[in-house]
C-alpha cells in the first residue's frame, strides 16, 4: 500500500503492521522540528508516539505498546498541565456494537497502564469509536493492524 499518502501518522503506525509478531523498536524519533510546541499534540506524535496497537479481538497490551505508554507517561509527567483523552479503535471485522465495547476496553487498558505509571486519573479520559474512525481506510491486514489501536490526544 502507498503509505506516503497517509502522512506522518501512518508512518508511525506501520511499525506494528503485523498483528501477531512483536513489533520492532520504534524508529528513532524525528528531531524536534521547528515550530513544534513542547507539550503539544504535535510533540506527542513526533517525539513520543501517540498510539499503541492491539492484536485481533484483544485489548492486551503488547510489549511495544507498554514501551510507548511508558514514554507517554514520562511525557505527561514532564508536562503536568496537559490532559489527554485515550480513544480506542477497532478494525472493521466485528459488529458496530461489539466494537464500541472492544474499543472502550482498549482505551481502558491503555489508560489504566498510564495510571499505573503515575498519571493522575483526573488528567485522563477515555472514549471509544468502535470501527467508525479508522486511521487506514483499506480492507487489508495492514490497514486492520493500524486500526486496532488506542490513540492518546491532548485535550
Amino acid at each position: 500500500m502507498n503509505v506516503k499518502t497517509l502522512g506522518a501518522l501512518a508512518a508511525v503506525a506501520l511499525v506494528a503492521a503485523c498483528a501477531t509478531k512483536p513489533a520492532p523498536e520504534a524508529p528513532t524519533p524525528t528531531p524536534v522540528a521547528a515550530g513544534i510546541v513542547p507539550g503539544s499534540q504535535e510533540d506527542l506524535v513526533a517525539n513520543v508516539g501517540d498510539r499503541v496497537f492491539y492484536d485481533l479481538n484483544s485489548s492486551t497490551l503488547r510489549a511495544d505498546a507498554k514501551g510507548t505508554l511508558e514514554k507517554q507517561s514520562a511525557w505527561l509527567a514532564k508536562y503536568g498541565s496537559v490532559n489527554v483523552q485515550v480513544a480506542g479503535n477497532c478494525d472493521e471485522r466485528g459488529t458496530e456494537e461489539y466494537n464500541l465495547a472492544l474499543g472502550e476496553r482498549r482505551a481502558h487498558s491503555a489508560a489504566s497502564y498510564l495510571k499505573a505509571k503515575g498519571v493522575a486519573s483526573a488528567r485522563l479520559s477515555t472514549i471509544s469509536y468502535g470501527k467508525d474512525r479508522p486511521t487506514a481506510q483499506g480492507s487489508t491486514e495492514e490497514a486492520w493492524a493500524q486500526n486496532r489501536n488506542a490513540i492518546t490526544s491532548v485535550r
Partner: protein, 452 residues
Amino acid sequence: MIHIPNPSVGRRSVIAGAAGLLAAPATVFAQAASGSQSAVIDVNRARTEPIPIAVPDLGGDEQLGRDIAGVITNDLARSGLFRTIDHAAFIQSGPSGSTPNFQNWKPTGAQALVTGSVTGSGGQVRVEFRLWDILPGTQIQGTAYTTTQSNWRRIAHKMADVIYERLLGEKGYFDTRIVYISGTGPRDRRTKRLAIMDQDSENNRLLTDGSWLVLTPRFHPTRDEIAFMSYANNRPRVYIFDLTSGRQTQLGDFAGMTFAPRFAPDGSSVIMAVSNGGGSDIISVDLGSRTSRRLTESGSIDVSPCYSPDGSQIAFASDRGGDQQIYVMGAGGGGARRISFGNGRYATPVWSPRGDLIAFTRYAGDTSDFSIGVMHPDGSGERLLSQGWDVEGPTFAPNGRVLMFYRETRSQGPRGSGFSSRLVSVDITGFNERPVPTPTDGSDPAWSPLGA
C-alpha cells in the same frame, strides 16, 4: 450543506378518516361458487408460488389512480409473494365501484384483482377499493379511506397491507418506515446522520445535521420516538429522538458510554449497554422515572440486548465464555444460558416479533466473511440467509417475515475506494434478497412497527 426540513416527522394517527367497509354488491354473492381454486393461501405452510394479481389503475382521479396502483404494485412485487400482472395483458381496465367482468380477467392469469376509485376535493380524497377473488368471482374485501391528499402514499401502503393480509393470512408490513444511518464522506472522517424513510425508500428525510457521529437507531413500539446513540459533545450516550418535536434527550446519566439501545416491547423502558471498566453491562432504564436497573455485571462485554416479544426474556451477545456468543436470560437478569454453538462469533441477536426466531450476525469461523442468519430461541435450527463482506445488523419487519440489514463492500485501496454501505432486505426463507435504495450510503436499519 444538506438542508434539514421541518423536523416534525411524527405521523401516528395521521390518517384520521376511519376506514369504512364496503359491502359487496349483491350480484357477487350469486356468483360465489364453492370449490373453486381461491387466491387465498396459507403462506406458512411452505414456500409457495407467488400469487398472480392484477392491479389496474384506480378510477376517478387519473393521476392519483395511477400513482396509488403503482405503489401497491411495487409493494406486492417486492415482497416476492405476489406476481403482479403486466398492464399490457389486461383486456379491460377495472371499472370503478361495480362488479368486474371476471371472464375478462381470467385469461390474464391473475387469481386476484384490485379495483377502486379516487375522488376528492379541497385537499381531501376518498379512496375506495375492492379486492376480488377471480376464479370463484367473489369480493374478498371492500374498504374506503378518507384523508388529506398528501397522505395518498400511506393509503396505498395500507391498501397493500390489506391485500397482503387477506390473501396470505398474516399482517403486512408496507405501511411502515425505516430509520437508519446515512453515511457520507471518506471513511476516516465519515459524516453520519440519522435518517428516516418509508419502507419503499420514499419520503427520505434527514433528522440530524451530521455535527456528531450517530449510530444504531431503533423505533419505539407505540410512540413516534427513536432511541439511538450520539457522540454529542464527544460524550457517546444513548438519546431519545422525538419525531414530532425533533427534540433529543439524553437517556439517563451514566459515567460511562451507553450504547446498543432497544425499547422494551411495551415501550415503557429501554434496555442498553453501559461500559464498565474493561467490559460492559446490560441495564434497563425506565422511560418514566428514568431509574435504571443493572441486569448483568459479568466483567465481560455484554452487549446488544433485545427482549423477546412477550418481554419475559432478553437475548444478548457476550464474550464471557472467551469468544463472543449469544445468550438468553430472564428479563430480570440472571440465569443466562448460551444458545449459539455454530462456527464463528455471534452478535446482534434480534428477536422476531413472532417470537419463534432470533436473527443474528455471525462472523469469523471457517470463512472471513460475515453472515446474517436465524435460529430458534433455544439455539436450534440455525439457518444462514445471506453472506458476504460485511453483512450486519438485522432488523425484522413487524410481521416477522422479512429481514433488513446492511452490506458493506471491501475498500480496494488505502484511500477507501470501492467502499460502500447499502441496505438490503431478504425473506426469512432466504429467498428474495433485494437492495433497499437510499440516497446516500446507509447502515444500521431499524424497521418501525406497522402503521408508524
